[in-house]
Symmetry: D2
Subunit: 410 residues, 4 copies
């Protein structure tokens, strides 16, 4: 980088953990700037109180400590819109990490504006997708913001060097962080992901201790659990008749999934930065939601609408995976998707059993399923069997003309 102007105030995405604590200190040392910490509750299931204490300990001013409960916003404005698209990356991944990053970036920028910061900082490494997702978010929302990515900048050559730095600056190191973690984790209300170290060889089965959000199917109850989910306008609103806020609903689904061993995924994926990586994901509630949403769509969504959604989905999923949530094209695709969801309203019955999710019933006041139309007897409904003859004949016409031609040509 060319010599840059000094940083005055930086908003750090601060988890309270060892790594971002080291970053906090490193920022103070390296940039001699005021550090503002932002700690988000996205449902990762950790206490946020210690983050405040640690920040204070490291000299962050009280007014520079931001701790925000973003769970409802996360589910309502990010998770649910994404599930309207039935988005899966590379056929199977439910994008649990990807979808949280833009919200963190957005809140960081909001805080930077509020406190008059000129820089933001994140703790993502230089080989992963998250650095891209954070930074594209920052730049899309605040194009001239200064971005600090310590993992790409500092000169620590090893884990040991990092720990030395921590000790030197009296950053507390939990005992279990002394040795290297056997894998790294990201978690939020939608999922937990694990990758690295013991998971790096894709030929070796992920060990059971990797899983944190679900019990093994083998350990789940021997009896299936059945419940209903109500949808309105494409989003879930109630479980077993109880209306729940978005975050409460997803929390409830997570519990149901957890208890029945639902939502484990072990895969090799293609990162945006160019290499393949292996990850283990647990998305208990999301896995149920995807199946249930497809279930309610199956009776309420027109064929043309559904097929169009299915065709654009991989691209929509890639945009989110690659960090382009705040891009014109993601917003355009969202407009297309949302346009289809007005009447995706009704109820599905879901059955969970030892890792399986099955939709076993669907009803809707706006159902497009017409029992009379589909019945084998022709009956009184306005379906004339002979229409099918014409339909086939005209669909076949070009194929017939081509077949005659091909005889001449091949």
């Amino acid at each position: 980088m060319a010599a840059q102007s000094p940083v005055k105030k930086v908003v750090l995405a601060y988890s309270g953990g060892l790594d971002t604590s080291i970053i906090l200190k490193w920022l103070q040392e390296t940039y001699a700037c005021e550090v503002v910490t932002f700690t988000a509750d996205l449902g990762q299931g950790e206490e946020l109180g210690p983050a405040r204490e640690k920040a204070l300990l490291m000299g962050v001013k009280p007014e520079n400590i931001f701790i925000e409960d973003l769970r409802e916003e996360f589910v309502r404005d990010f998770v649910f819109p994404m599930f309207r698209a039935n988005a899966v990356y590379e056929g199977i991944y439910l994008l649990g990490t990807s979808i949280a990053r833009p919200l963190i970036a957005k809140t960081q920028i909001d805080i930077a504006r509020k406190v008059g910061a000129d820089a933001v900082c994140h703790g993502a490494t230089g080989k992963g997708n998250d650095q891209v997702r954070f930074e594209l978010g920052y730049y899309a929302l605040e194009p001239d913001i200064r971005v600090i990515a310590p993992w790409r900048e500092w000169s620590f050559a090893s884990r040991e060097a990092l720990l030395d730095f921590a000790e030197k600056h009296q950053i507390p190191i939990a005992k279990d962080k002394r040795g290297e973690a056997p894998f790294s984790v990201d978690a939020n209300l939608l999922h937990s992901s694990s990758e690295g170290k013991v998971l790096e060889d894709p030929s070796v089965e992920a060990p059971e201790f990797v899983y944190q959000r679900t019990i093994a199917p083998e350990d789940a109850p021997d009896k299936a659990q059945v419940f209903t989910m109500d949808f309105e306008g494409g989003d879930p609103v109630a479980i077993d008749g109880e209306r729940l806020s978005p975050a409460a609903l997803l929390t409830k689904l997570n519990q149901l999934g957890h208890d029945n061993g639902v939502g484990r995924l072990d895969l090799v994926e293609n990162r945006f930065v160019g290499m393949k990586s292996r990850g283990v994901y647990e998305t208990p509630g999301g896995t149920i939601l995807l199946a249930a949403h497809r279930g309610i769509e199956s009776i309420t969504l027109d064929r043309g609408a559904m097929h169009l959604k299915d065709e654009i989905m991989p691209r929509y999923a890639s945009l989110i995976y690659n960090g382009f949530w705040f891009s014109p094209e993601r917003e355009m695709l969202q407009a297309l998707i949302d346009k289809s969801q007005d009447l995706v309203t009704g109820q599905v019955r879901v059955k969970l059993y030892k890792g399986n999710v099955a939709v076993i019933g669907r009803t809707s006041p706006y159902s497009l399923y017409d029992q009379e139309l589909v019945t084998f007897e022709e009956g009184k409904v306005a379906y004339d069997h002979r229409d099918a003859a014409g339909f086939i004949k005209l669909n076949a016409l070009r194929l017939r003309v081509a077949a005659k031609r091909d005889r001449r040509g091949r």
Copy 2:
């Protein structure tokens, strides 16, 4: 229809069952023509001997009875090419019925040419997809063939009228066919489908007696079953190290799936003829194959190749579902897909447990997974963290320019 020329010889897709036996007789009566029967073994699991006897009984000449074992051709030339695409219709349906129809149509046309027939006939009803699939196949291969679709032509007003006709012509009616079947079934080596009657209300769970090809997850063993699958050029070639022919391999996978309650699907789908219908599908081997194929692709397929495949897949699946197997556009998409599969070679380990299919390991001599690249330490590999900074900066550039512009404009 306008008055048409008389039919001289017709090739009937003949299952040997009651309905196509009625059709056989009806053809003889209505068209006063020679009937040629064609009965295919597609792995539906029924004896074909009786079909010959019944045809003889109804006066079909021995040289006009064709019984063909198409299982290997079916799996090798239709099922496997389709699975190279990871094809699923409307997100979940594995196209088990759809993929068999073009082969039946093709063989019927081959026989028609051999025996000099001027017409072909199928037993599909006037409200379903199969009539379309059969007839598009016929026309694409033999554009001037005469097609007879009895269900769209005859005047039987009810099931009773049909049975009366059968009795009048001494067509044997099995006791259990007296009453109406509680649902209708299609089966082949890839799947069984059930629809109609007891399944017509999509809010009601499919009763257990509908399932024929799989045991319930609840009834499957309490212990997981693990095995390996070898792939070469995108197709499976061995299970647990044993090389198998395509049909033998799929048969083996079906057994594995059956035993572990794998491959049940209960859905509402959109028919090409315009209405929604509810079906229950069992695709035990295919469900495993799809997961395993994605597994081997995950380490052998380049990202660009995979994403392109994923994006065109819904269209490819719709073409097959709608009956356009023998169309230029399906063949073009197949060329695209096949081009990607040369090095989709290697082994996956698969774990089945009470309805779950999990890929738990993948290896390949042509793996694109590079453990050194992905490891968190930068190490000796040719990945410079600072490259990521430039990568992000240029990906962000248009978003930043737009963000500045939007402040002016919004």
Copy 3:
């Protein structure tokens, strides 16, 4: 068709010409029903007064005669939204006929509701696209409406039989309609199309007398004509600084195009009903509008937005061509397109010369074109050449890994 209930009142899309006059009479004779005529001014350039007189002459009650000037609605709600998408069918056709049909269908249905009609009727033939477009529009808006398509129903075996019927019923036949027209024409404010007869051989150049809306490039002035077009939110609003209503603006563009020999097209296209047909189209104003719209988009539309639009355009165009304007998927695509157009605002300078349309200048208050960014000198702008190195390196990463792998595999 099965025997149908009698028709009480039918709304006929009535041009006032010979063919629809025959239809009017035929409806009265065949269905013994009340006929309501609807004649639309879509800018086809014909007097509509005679349509009223003829209808009265044939016994249509005054209150059953509807003559509507739809030009503004046509351009504002159909033509402009379509041009936001830069829609062309099969690479070149500007969809001038296709886009008028849904508006006619919609207005017919509106009138049918107003007068309590139970049927609608159009004069499109049984081999063309227009029957599909009309009827899909009818059914999408009024699903139980009865549709009468005389050309598919009546038994006139020849043009002579039709004329005999006309004479018998004192329908006036213009002298030049005695013999057969050398080709058939459809016209509206967007375009004129000609097809049939003298145009049927696609190897033969269209004769000059076919063209009606444009002079030949050879006959256009020797001096180029330059003018400006202002756009707001994706739609043109002014020419040479003069604000014009949508219809007035398109009329003005048509004049400019006409005078400079702009907008002729001679092509072979694929009809939805399955055959190829040859048409000659003149779209003088539309041809200019397409170029100008692309011009203003080129500086105001983000790359991601533009590429997404370009990728979905062929499908959007096919939907309109095939008659699916009133379909969920067309509306979803429109939502996507419209979402991109907010800031497609600014001015382009257009140069017309003997058939050529060139955009020679573009300005916008919301331009994304940044002269400082693009200049060869690096200068003060926030573009670091070294970013490009990282950008390329990471874009190349997967290709490099694959190249190494391929050496092993091929």
Copy 4:
């Protein structure tokens, strides 16, 4: 960059011009390595002899000077395959620069292998697309090659500093290179592009002196020029009946285009590196070829094939524009495209007039255009008007069901 190993031998893409001569010297100075020059004849219309002399003058060994005539390979293996796709970037740009880069990269790598070089070098700047195209090509073909991009590496702060360096090293500077060129040019057999300086303001019309490969439409003959083009398997093979090699044919088309003012384009495009830039392109022969290819396809290509091609085209064009010619996904798309072209064989008649290109006739032994089918009279052809009724009815079915539903829901 981390400290890198020394370079021993580098292959430079050497035009013989001032800039690449400076690079040649800079390489010798900076890397103290052996420089191999590679000069390609891609039809840019410059003498290549001087490049050899200059290289010798600057101390390049005779055996290290490679001058290759790549014109036939360029047109046959790059230009024609691309035109099979009717590729245009952002709706209008014919990709004339983009398509030449992969061939240069490939030949450079071939030479590097032959001479045992460990590095390659190009003269593209750090803000453009060409650096990406060159380098993605290098890496895809030779993943461990060292790439030197002087414009991103050296420290010359201005044009003056560069010229000082040239003078200091006795590199001859043509008088007209003293001052800055008013714009920069790239040329090959397919096109010439001009950008920069006088063209940087997109609101200002490109001055006439920018154009080099075409005369102005205003200066073209007053009489149209008509000729035939023969196609075989999607590629042009003859003009006016004279069979020509690919390069000869394109040369001939260029002459025809030049003489009639065909192929000028003035646009603002989106670069892969993230900014918009303005370019003026002249593609005389390519513009004719695109129109003619669409013309022959219009009668020989099935609708399904054509629409699929049209839908994937924007992506194919972006891949080429962005430098991904040697990528799995471009090759997959090419397989799809090529699969469609077998019978794209026949003749079109083309008319050029003052900038206009019109296809005025098409014939093919493999035509799918069936005059009998399309004729208005029903006649003897196998098209039953009543088939259209069924076709429409079933296409409308889902819309009707949805319309009834929507009344309940909205």
